[in-house]
């Protein structure tokens, strides 16, 4: 019971941190996913330079540990004369990371649309771009949605890394409270409960989404 009263006392201090965590996650997804789609399309482009840019973006974003990517931007942008807040730096790093993984899912989604669809669109007199936009893309997006939703959950968990560059998100707030109160175990357990329960809610939504999106496949 003692722990519960402690927890209730800390919640008002942690809540703003959680809001920052959610904002960070939301922005990283909002920027990262479209970038991922762009780089997936670029990977399939006929122009070699476009392929190379896409390759570099995806391989750096996926190959480096998210923490290293975060430090890399944090320590290098000021050297390049760009002064950004730690929150903006974290948004860029997480968007890059999320975009790199998303691009692989988009690529798989695009590859899963049967070639006949493209041929049919062309035969129907649609131009390449219109055919892509109204025939191929919607089907690819439907296929990529479940893994992307799963990725969104991982991005939320990765947002805790922004702690290392002092973004005032949930993990930083917990660290602050722990260093003042010395109640490390209790504070971090509460933090784990908050991250865990929000992740569970996300995962529940993902499952509902998956069921809805696969409804058209259950014909028998």
């Amino acid at each position: 019971m003692d722990m519960l009263t402690q927890w209730l006392g800390w919640l008002p201090n942690l809540a703003p941190g959680l809001v920052v965590s959610l904002q960070l996650t939301g922005l990283a997804l909002l920027i990262g996913f479209p970038l991922g789609l762009l780089f997936a399309v670029m990977a399939a482009a006929k122009l070699a330079p476009l392929q190379w840019i896409s390759f570099l973006f995806v391989e750096v974003g996926r190959g480096l540990p998210a923490l290293v990517l975060l430090y890399l931007l944090y320590f290098s942008l000021p050297d390049a004369g760009i002064t950004l807040t730690s929150l903006t730096t974290a948004i860029i790093a997480l968007s890059w990371n999320a975009g790199a993984y998303a691009s692989e899912y988009f690529r798989a989604g695009l590859a899963a649309v049967p070639l006949g669809q493209k041929e049919a669109a062309l035969t129907s007199g649609l131009s390449g771009w219109t055919g892509f936009r109204i025939v191929i893309l919607p089907q690819a997006l439907r296929i990529s949605t479940p893994p992307l939703a799963g990725l969104a959950v991982l991005v939320f968990q990765a947002s805790a890394l922004a702690f290392v560059i002092a973004v005032p998100e949930l993990m930083s707030k917990s660290f602050e409270i722990a260093s003042i109160s010395f109640e490390y175990l209790s504070v971090y357990m509460l933090t784990a409960v908050i991250y865990g329960s929000i992740t569970l809610v996300f995962l529940g939504l993902v499952r509902v989404l998956e069921r809805r999106l696969s409804r058209h496949l259950q014909r028998n």
Partner: protein, 213 residues
């Protein structure tokens, strides 16, 4: 140019933490997957609960909980011990899921065939099911191992002197932030590539030896 040797000092501990966590996590994962298939609902429930609880908490929160939280109960851990315990717990849940999908891929007929040949349950599991399931699971284990290698960078936050720790140190000392972390990143990528190549080779060898129907 002094950056590379300075940061490469961390490779040993990066590999040690990742390897230990994969080993211990792999063993606990075996127990978990066994428990998840137990005939007792309570044991199944506990295993499922463990797997889910572990996976919904961010790794950095796990590390802080273990490194800063446990000493309150007089359980003093070194940074390396805390990191290995934390990552082993995390790995165990993911490894259990990987084993489970490996086991699911083995057709029921294999078990029936082994049974019909008069093999006991232990022999069947040890000689028929496990080798095939392992063959199927190996690529996923390698992929997870590479993910874990990258996650191990987090151990720097509790002071384990691995690659990222030294990169941070040289960034601070030399003011070559960009170069330090590019070097660290390159080290991670090289190690990942080596793991990927070894796993692919092993997979090819196993594929020839152990066919999966």
């Amino acid at each position: 140019m002094e950056l590379l040797p300075a940061i490469a000092q961390g490779v040993g501990l990066t590999l040690y933490v990742t390897g230990s966590a994969l080993l211990y996590g792999g063993i606990i994962g075996l127990v978990l997957v066994g428990a998840a298939r137990s005939p007792f609902a309570i044991i199944r429930g506990i295993a499922t609960l463990y797997i889910n609880v572990v996976r919904v908490i961010p790794p950095i929160t796990w590390l802080f909980l273990i490194y800063f939280g446990l000493p309150q109960y007089a359980l003093r851990l070194s940074t390396i011990q805390a990191a290995i315990i934390g990552f082993s717990i995390i790995a165990s849940a993911f490894m259990a899921e990987i084993y489970r999908s490996g086991l699911l891929s083995i057709p029921e007929g294999q078990r029936e065939a082994a049974h019909a040949l008069g093999l006991g349950t232990i022999t069947t599991v040890g000689h028929i099911i496990t080798p095939q399931a392992f063959r199927v699971a190996l690529p996923s284990i390698a992929t997870y191992g590479i993910g874990l290698l990258k996650d191990s960078a987090l151990a720097s936050t509790i002071g384990v002197r691995e690659i990222t720790y030294y990169a941070q140190q040289s960034a601070r000392q030399t003011h070559e932030g960009l170069l330090s972390f590019i070097t660290a990143g390159a080290l991670y990528i090289v190690i990942s590539l080596i793991i990927a190549v070894v796993a692919r080779r092993t997979d090819l060898v196993l594929r020839k030896k152990i066919g999966v129907a």
